[in-house]
Subunit: 263 residues, 2 copies
């Protein structure tokens, strides 16, 4: 198989990365995608740098079995703590979600906010990536540990989610008019986030990462030339019915056959 026709490997700590797959399939419907979710050890957002880095390398190894032309680390926490190690180890290119998000954030006017898991915020990865582009940029970050379990509970458009979003987002100064959704679960909570902070420009990791993948394919990796609709293969390290149900809401289409991968 020519490199262009090979699959794109997408890795996430669980099922949040399916929002990135959704964006990829909207922008690049012809591409084959192999998704690997580490549902046996999710979430990564509360874990240490060393553990997240180790898990990221293991997930990269598993994806290599499928001979991807590119690996997308579709998890902000893994991008913050494991991307550099995986880029060094992997024979194929690896992109994360933080650089594309930082690129978009660096281009807006004024201060930006970043919301994410404890591990992502404490890594200061967005700060570093934005300041590499715009050294004087004002950045305000807030860790929002409850937003992932709320999204997984499915309370997408709910007064309780509004109250929790208010508590977190009200920690950002008024001048912040652009906020990076620094966790792949967060786009599903947009109704509450919009109500809490109207007139905000949200930067969605999934959308900007899909753009960035498109640029890489347009460059030297190449677009898949086979049939019109690319296949989607879903691999999980632990499978429960609950995950299937929530996953379909994140992906916006049926999950199909889910394969279990032994760790």
């Amino acid at each position: 198989m020519t490199r262009a026709n090979r699959t794109i490997g997408v890795f996430d700590s669980g099922i949040g990365g399916l929002t990135v797959v959704r964006a990829l399939r909207q922008l690049l419907p012809g591409e084959s995608i192999t998704y690997l979710g580490d549902t046996a050890r999710l979430p990564y957002g509360t874990k240490s740098h060393r553990t997240i880095e180790r898990y990221t390398l293991q997930m990269g190894e598993i994806l290599q079995r499928y001979e991807p032309k590119l690996i997308v680390v579709a998890c902000n926490t893994a991008s913050a703590h494991g991307l550099a190690a995986l880029q060094t180890a992997s024979p194929c290119p690896v992109v994360g979600v933080i650089e594309p998000g930082a690129e978009a954030a660096a281009q807006v006017k004024g201060a930006v906010g970043v919301i994410g898991t404890l591990a992502t915020v404490s890594s200061a990865s967005y700060d570093d990536a934005i300041h590499r582009r715009e050294p004087g940029k004002q950045i305000h970050s807030v860790a929002c540990p409850l937003l992932v379990p709320l999204a997984e509970e499915g309370w997408f458009d709910d007064p309780i989610t509004d109250a929790i979003a208010r508590r977190y987002l009200n920690q950002l100064p008024f001048e912040v008019k652009t906020i990076v959704l620094g966790c792949t679960h967060y786009p599903t909570l947009r109704p509450s986030l919009d109500r809490t902070r109207p007139n905000t420009q949200w930067i969605d990791s999934g959308e900007v990462t899909a753009q960035s993948v498109d640029n890489l394919l347009k460059g030297n990796l190449g677009y898949r030339t086979e049939s019109a609709r690319g296949p989607l293969r879903i691999l999980l390290t632990d499978a429960s019915n609950r995950l299937r149900e929530v996953g379909e809401r994140f992906l916006g289409e049926a999950l199909g056959n889910v394969e279990l991968v032994e760790l």
Copy 2:
């Protein structure tokens, strides 16, 4: 060392089991306790039977290195899905938190409620254990996935926690006057739970399990005969500052030196 002087191994998916350690140290202050929290893979409550059983066996193996006289599975989810396998495999006795909770629930008058993680509730372990004692007992169970992350966020006494507790507990019929706290995190949320459902008798896994451990020691295992205050050793599979902070609130005393165990 005589068996009576050996340590009690306590295992939990994370740090919730420290509420059980707290109860053990209140009732049995002279005992040595070796606590193992699987913080690298927490939570177990959203994972499958097979994965939880495998993790429970691995944690039991690690605890055996410390030659315990008894292992306490201080996690409802692991007790529901992994206890039987560990009891078969372990050379020392193993007790879980579900049988003691069920024993207490079977003794009260009228219908009982059980709240727990998705995995605990879907296992129907409390139903089975209560019905073995009281076949006609009315039992109403509600899975409460957000209560663990709320406790870990430290919102113990908070209007948002009240709202979430109301949404879950209002699924129980009025006639339920006794509720089993079927997750070791829940005792920390008692202020909200009490406001939501006043005049309820709460059955705390930690307290009833400590009683049950006391009975086993009084039987043939024996009490530790050494110094007055027993040592507490904390082992975690992943360590973050955040866990230390939350853990101390669960334990009610300083965590001291935390050792990292490689998986």
